[in-house]
Structures are given as C-alpha cells and as structure tokens.
C-alpha cells in the first residue's frame, strides 16, 4: 500500500542513556535548533500552498531566510492564526505552571503530569479540529483539554476536586472528559485510550456508511507517548485502523522518556514512525518543538482522515521540561539534554517567528501573556470558591441507569431508597 508520506531522514540523534562515562551525542548546532529538514513525498491529491512546492517542509528559520525576497503571502500562517497559536501555547504553559504552584500549596493531590515543553504538539494539532472531532489523551491531558476548548475554570476545578469541575470532581487530573467538546479522556493506564479513540473513529465511519449521515467526517486524534508504542494495544489498533480505514490520526508525543526509562533502552527500533508503514499507513516524523511544522503535518494527516483515506501515524519529537509528574525528582535526565531542548522552547520559537515576519508586535504578544495570566488567575479563584462535592454525589454516576444497583429486600429498587440520594447507602 503506497504511503502518502515516507519516512523522513532522521537527522537528529536521540540522546543515549545518561551515564557519565559515555559521551553525549550532540545534534549538529547549525540547522537543528529550529528543527531539521524533513523530506516528505507528497501525493498528487494534496493541493497545497506555495511552501510545499519543493516537496519539503523546512526549518522555520531556514524558510524565513529563503523567502526574504518573496512577499509575506507565502508565510505559513496568517496573523490571526499566529496569534491564536501563540495564545494557545502560552495558555497551556501558564496553566501548567499554575498547577505546579497549586500542587505545592496543597490545593491538589495525587499524580499530576505537566505538559511544559510539549505545547506545540497540542496546539499544532487540536487547533485544526472542529468541535465535533474527538480527542483522546493520556494522563498528561490538561493542555489537550484546554486546546480542545474546555474552559480553564472547569479544568482547574476538576484538579481541585470541586463539584464544578468538568467531571464533577470525580475524575481528577488524569481523567479529563468533556462531552460538549468531545474530549474522550483522560486515561491513567497507558495505551488504554487508543482503542477508545479507534472506537470513536469507528463511530464516525459507521455514521457515514450505515446511518447514512453523508456529511459526517469527524476525525479522532489519539495522543500518547513513546512508552505506549511498545504496548500491545498500540499495535492492535494500528492494525484495525488501517484495516478499516478509520478516520483517526495516531499522534506520538515522543519525549524520549517514560518516567525514568529512556526510549532507546526500551525499544528495539526507536524510530516509531517506521511502524506505521508496517501496518499499511503513512508514518511521519516531525519536529514537535516547532508548532508550524506540526501544524503543516497535522493538516495533511487530518485532511487524509477526513477524506476517508485512512489513518496516519505521526511521531512528534518533543520534550517535557519538567519531570514525569510533580512527584518525579527527575534526576536521570542529563542537564545538557534539558538545556538543548529548553533552547528549542516552542513558545519562544513562535514568538521569534511572529516578530521577525512582522505578524505581531512585542506589545501584542505581551498583551496576550497578560490576558492569559488573568484567565488562569480567574480559574484558580473560581476553583477555590467552588463547593466541594456533597456526600450525595457519591452514588450518582455509578450507573447511567441506577436500577443497576438492584432490587432491595423490600421489593423496591435500591436507588429509590432515600439513603441513595443522600449518599449514605452502602452498595
């Protein structure tokens, strides 16, 4: 089965396991920092803008240098789009930083996994979706929720465990759901969400072909990490999605680390994008620290899915600036590696791009920063003031149909017992 994308040359060396004896492999400094050149073979069906003429997606800065003589209409994004992307990434960053603060102040507990550094992936993909498209995530889901449109107030309340949270305080950090915005979770076990995403894509296909809703072209995005790519559910779903040409995009956020397990130590072939063509779908690698590149790849992959051409596997090379969770001391990762990626901060890169291409001024961007800070502050205030769940909430959502609690000794359904509405009944 021919692939629309072929595997690009992988010119960045992954960092080897950190040991003081073995030498670190540094990427070549010249063209690497804003991503590397990735060669893509296009299908004849893709109708694209001028930047694809050469058939490659190039580094942002290289591109800018090449195009200085051309007009600004050949830029990758418009001003509005640029500001939207910038705002979304800053939103994610500010929110996660606030989460860390709140956690250390004792407002939220348990496992909290922060997304700092990976914003380009979430923004690059999710901002291209419609509301009816679905997103499935993992435990690192706060920013996916925010990008998809779940209000910051709802997410922060959920983290605080308040009843106004998006899941009424019953889910927590790792289980963000939103029916309205089609966020299907939020899963604590890795790999668990991928079959759910496959099911959502199946529904989309079913609606189109069986229920004859001809305009149903909903796409599902499944986000997961490099560790998940060694899990059975990943491979099983790649097979099924390719087999039935489901409208799904598998997005691998390869941040090179699964808690303390380096990707190269856990995987026989660390190049995840190669696993796509093994199942008959295109596999593409993209620099996940560069939101514009991610967006270009996402457009093509989502477009493929919408047209009914089937799934795509996109591997985004990215990095998390913080530890795996707020409980992770993050001692294993080499500071040099962290610095390397910190220099490729996606927000700074986009800011630079916007300013250099006169798409936005420093003042406008600062205004956005300030606005975001206010939104996040407001979310925290709202969450603080929200009520904690009442005892009566305990049994409310166990069953969609509460008759499932059964018939009690007195002959009535147990859910009719007043202790149920109070939440004091024992089930």
């Amino acid at each position: 089965m021919s692939t629309a994308f072929s595997a690009a040359k992988f010119s960045t060396q992954p960092f080897s396991t950190i040991s003081h004896d073995s030498p670190l492999v540094f990427a070549k400094p010249t063209s690497q920092f804003f991503g590397s050149t990735r060669k893509l073979r296009l299908t004849s069906s893709s109708k694209f803008n001028l930047s694809r003429r050469s058939g490659t997606v190039v580094a942002v800065s290289d591109y800018v240098k090449q195009k200085t003589s051309k007009s600004t209409t050949s830029l990758l994004i418009t001003k509005e789009e640029g500001l939207e992307l910038y705002e979304d990434m800053v939103f994610g960053r500010a929110f996660e930083d606030m989460c860390a603060q709140m956690y250390y102040r004792g407002k939220m507990f348990g496992f909290v996994h922060l997304y700092n550094g990976q914003e380009a992936v979430s923004t690059g993909f999710i901002k291209l979706l419609k509301q009816q498209d679905s997103v499935v995530s993992t435990y690192r889901d706060h920013v996916h929720a925010l990008s998809k449109g779940v209000p910051a107030r709802a997410v922060m309340s959920e983290l605080f465990g308040k009843t106004t949270g998006c899941c009424r305080g019953q889910g927590g950090s790792m289980h963000m759901f939103s029916r309205e915005h089609n966020l299907l979770g939020g899963f604590a076990f890795i790999g668990e969400g991928i079959p759910i995403a496959t099911g959502a894509a199946f529904t989309s296909k079913y609606k189109r072909e069986v229920l004859k809703e001809a305009d149903c072209d909903h796409v599902t995005l499944a986000f997961f990490g490099d560790g998940t790519c060694n899990n059975g559910q990943f491979f099983e779903c790649l097979n099924m999605a390719a087999l039935w040409k489901l409208p799904i995009v598998f997005v691998v956020e390869n941040n090179l680390w699964a808690i303390g397990m380096s990707h190269s130590r856990a995987t026989s072939d660390p190049q995840i994008y190669k696993k796509g063509p093994a199942f008959g779908m295109p596999g593409i690698h993209v620099d996940g620290m560069d939101v514009l590149k991610v967006r270009e790849v996402a457009k093509e992959a989502i477009g493929r899915a919408r047209r009914g051409e089937g799934p795509t596997l996109v591997e985004c090379e990215t990095y998390r600036f913080r530890g795996h969770s707020l409980a992770d001391p993050d001692e294993l990762r080499d500071p040099a590696e962290k610095d390397h990626y910190a220099a490729r901060d996606p927000i700074r890169a986009l800011k630079k791009y916007l300013i250099e291409n006169s798409l936005a001024s420093e003042a406008e961007l600062k205004a956005i920063d300030k606005k975001i800070d206010e939104v996040v502050e407001d979310a925290v205030e709202f969450a603080d003031e929200s009520p904690i769940p009442a005892r009566s909430q305990l049994l409310e959502n166990v069953f969609a149909d509460p008759r499932g609690f059964g018939i009690g000794p007195d002959g009535r359904y147990r859910c009719e017992d007043p202790k149920f509405t109070e939440g004091t009944a024992r089930v």
Binding site: G172, F177, G186, E192, P195, I196, M240, R414
Partner: protein
C-alpha cells in the same frame, strides 16, 4: 384405532422408560440420550440426533405451556408423528411422569417438579401459540430484533460475520446488515472491546462477543477500567450502553482454559451489571433487555445450553435485568442457582420430591446485582438456603451471595447457608475428573438432606 393407539403407546412407553431411567441414572448426559433415540428410532441422520440431543433437554417451564390434563400421552405422540421426518421427540417432564411405571404415588408427588411461573407477565396475556426454537436461535432472534429496531446496534467479535458466530448466535446477520454492522474483528480482544467502548461512548450500541468467555480475560483492562468506570470518572457525561456476551462454563472436555467461569472475576467491577441466561425464553429476554439498557451489561451464556429447545412467545418481550426467576415454588429449602446448574438442580429436585422434600428453586439470573427481594421472600418462607453454582469456590458468586444473604436475612435462617460450587481446580480434560469438579445432582440431593435435618 385402539390397536394402533396401543402400538404407539407401547412404543412410546419403551422410549420414555428408557429415557426416564437414563435421566435418573446417567444424570442428564446428552449424548447418551441421543444414542438411545438413535437406537430406538432407527437410523437417522446425525443432524437429527443433534437436534434430538437438544430436544431431549427441553424444559416445559416456559409460560406459554400449560399444564392441563390434555398434556398427557397424546401430546408427545402428536409431536412425535409430526416430526417423524426430523426424528426427535419433544420430551416433556410431565409426559414422562404420566408413564412412570413406578406408579401413581410418584406421579402425585412429582407433579409439581417443574412448575409454571405464576408471576410471569407474558404467560397470561399470550394467546398466540408461540414458536419453538433452540437457545442460540433465541439469542439470535433477540439480537436481530434489536438490530432491526435500532440502527445503532452493532455486533463486534471474532468470526461473528461471515462465519456466523462460533456458536451460530450471529448466523445470517452479516448478510442482512452488512459487514460494518456485524464486524469481524482481528484477534485482539483488549483492543476491540475498547473499540466497542469507544463506539458506545460516541453514540453506538455495540454488542461485543467473546468467542469464549475466557478470552475476555484479555479484555479485562478495558472492561474493568473503561467499561465499568468511565461513566463515573467522566462525571456522568458519557454512557456506555455496551453488551459483552459470550459462552462460558464447563463444557464437554474442552480443557482448562476453555472451561472458565468469569463471573467471579468480573463481579467486583463497579459500574457493570452481570446476567446469566439459562433458557431460550430468558436468553432472548435478557439479550434484548441488555441491549436496551443504558448500563454496560455482561451476559453470560453457557456452552452446553445452546441447544435447549423451548416454546417462546411470538410477541416482543424482555426479561428484567435485575430480577430473579422462580423456577419451582416450594416450602422446605431455597435452592439458588443459575445457568447450567439450574438443570442439575431440577434433576435433583425430582429425586428430592420423590423422597418427600419440597425444594423451592430460584434461578437468580442477575449475578450482579442480586435480586434480594425474590431471594429474601424465599428465605423468609423456607429458612434454609442452598446455593448451587458452577463458579469457583473461592470468591465466586456463591460466596458473594452467601455474604449478602447473611447480611440481610440472618434472622430468618434456621441453618447455615450451604454453598455447592465447583472445586478450585483447573478443569481437567479427562471426562471423569471433569465431572467431579462440577456439582452433580447427587451432591445436591445429599446437601438438601443434610440441610433439612
């Protein structure tokens, strides 16, 4: 006319004596009965024998059957003559009893061995004759009717489409509804169960088939984490109206891994309902109710019960998912059972009635949650409880049921609850050993005698 009648009578008398003795002494071994029919009825094709196997296990417990005096020698006779080409007889327990050579005494004592269900809603209203079918056909009928009724109902599983299902429950559905609605999946239980859950969250109503219930162990992650929990962790935003079904239980020397009972493993998962079907009537009713339910439901079928034959109503009906079924009212002891053990219990009930006991038999049907009303009323009446199940001894349904009854009805008990379950042994292949791991009617009789001392 009378000579002809006498000839027929003798013939049938022969058949029924043999069958009766067989049932009592060989404890309901299907293939032996089939052999007997083969022997007495002459050479017949194998398919007919297979049908005979199923026919021999017919129960007359469906509500559309009436136990009036007309159902004596003549009804088996007429059914036999009608089916001569197909070469099996509908063996009714009351038919056997009327020809019992052990005499009238036995007949009077046993006449209630299989009773009508007085509380069944369908029995009084049904004036149509109903139709006879096998249990797997009843499941198929229920599934097909629901798929006709709601276009969002779809089936997923291994070999459910073109192959028609490994136990033929989905036979013909793929031709009728298409390959997407009756989806043949690759062998990836965890993932296609998860896919079913994802589809259920986004608006479809899938029925996921595990080719054997044991295979669903591979899907345990999805069933426990997602199926049971997602409604709760999403704060009630997503419902998962999925039905997970498949055959389980100990079959005929299928080996340890194909003879598993997963009721005990799944029963702790919060957020799911579990039901077990045992007759064609409740199989169809539970299948339909499970599909219509907004909760995730696991429907346990049994490999050996697929060929049970019964007459079921023509009209639309469902069986309540949370209710238990009164099989035989009685006074002395409550026997709680489900699935295949129901038949072992009814077997033992005949012996017990002969010996003068009056057991009340309840098919609990709903494994999670328990119908504490029906069970409680029974305990309050008889004060003695015997649980007979095929589940494992440790942590099985019987263990939970014992705890529930003790918690709620301890004051009404005159004796400790007895629980007969399968032994905690991986089911051996050898037939004799396999028999011993499962509860047999003789053990049930002994247990009741012990309980009623």
């Amino acid at each position: 006319m009378s000579l002809k009648f006498f000839a027929h009578f003798l013939f049938i008398f022969q058949v029924y004596i043999s069958v009766f003795l067989l049932i009592i002494h060989l404890q309901f071994h299907f293939f032996e009965i089939a052999f007997l029919f083969y022997f007495f009825a002459g050479a017949k094709p194998m398919a007919a024998i297979f049908q005979g196997v199923g026919a021999a296990a017919t129960l007359s417990s469906s509500p559309s059957n009436s136990f009036d005096s007309n159902n004596s020698v003549f009804s088996p006779l007429t059914s036999f003559s009608v089916r001569r080409g197909a070469s099996f007889a509908v063996v009714r327990s009351d038919g056997i009893l009327n020809l019992n050579p052990k005499g009238r005494r036995a007949q009077q004592l046993i006449s209630n061995a299989v009773a009508t269900k007085a509380d069944s809603a369908a029995s009084s209203s049904s004036s149509k004759p109903g139709h006879e079918l096998l249990l797997f056909e009843a499941l198929q009928e229920g599934l097909e009717e629901e798929m006709d009724r709601d276009p969002r109902v779809c089936v997923m599983g291994e070999d459910v489409g073109h192959y028609g299902g490994s136990y033929k429950v989905t036979k013909g559905l793929a031709e009728k509804f298409g390959d997407l609605r009756v989806l043949d999946t690759p062998i990836a239980e965890n993932s296609f169960t998860g896919m079913g859950i994802g589809a259920a969250m986004t608006g479809l109503r899938p029925v996921v088939e595990g080719m054997n219930m044991g295979f669903l162990l591979l899907a345990f992650n999805q069933i426990s984490n997602n199926c049971g929990m997602l409604h709760y962790t999403s704060g009630g935003q997503f419902t998962i109206p999925i039905v997970i079904r498949g055959p389980g239980g100990v079959g005929r020397q299928l080996g340890a891994e194909h003879s598993q009972r997963l009721e005990s493993y799944f029963q702790s998962i919060p957020g799911i309902q579990m039901v077990a079907c045992s007759t064609p009537y409740n199989a169809k009713g539970l299948m339909k109710a499970a599909i219509r339910s907004e909760n995730p439901v696991i429907l346990f079928e049994h490999v050996l019960l697929y060929n049970l034959k019964e007459r079921i109503p023509d009209e639309d009906y469902i069986c309540n998912l949370e209710e238990a079924e009164m099989v035989r009212p009685g006074e002395h002891v409550t026997i709680l059972t489900y699935s295949r053990m129901r038949y072992h219990v009814m077997q033992a009930a005949k012996t017990l009635v002969n010996k003068g006991y009056d057991p009340e038999v309840i098919d609990i049907r709903s494994l999670k949650p328990f119908d504490l009303y029906t069970i409680g009323n029974s305990v309050k009446k008889t004060h003695r409880v015997l649980i007979v199940e095929e589940c494992m001894r440790t942590g099985g349904i019987g263990a939970s049921l014992t705890a529930a009854i003790t918690e709620n009805f301890n004051d009404y008990l005159d004796a400790p609850i007895m629980c007969l379950s399968s032994q905690d042994v991986p089911t051996p292949y050898a037939g004799t050993l396999e028999e011993v791991t499962v509860v047999q009617p003789a053990q049930i009789v002994t247990a009741v005698e012990q309980l009623c001392q």
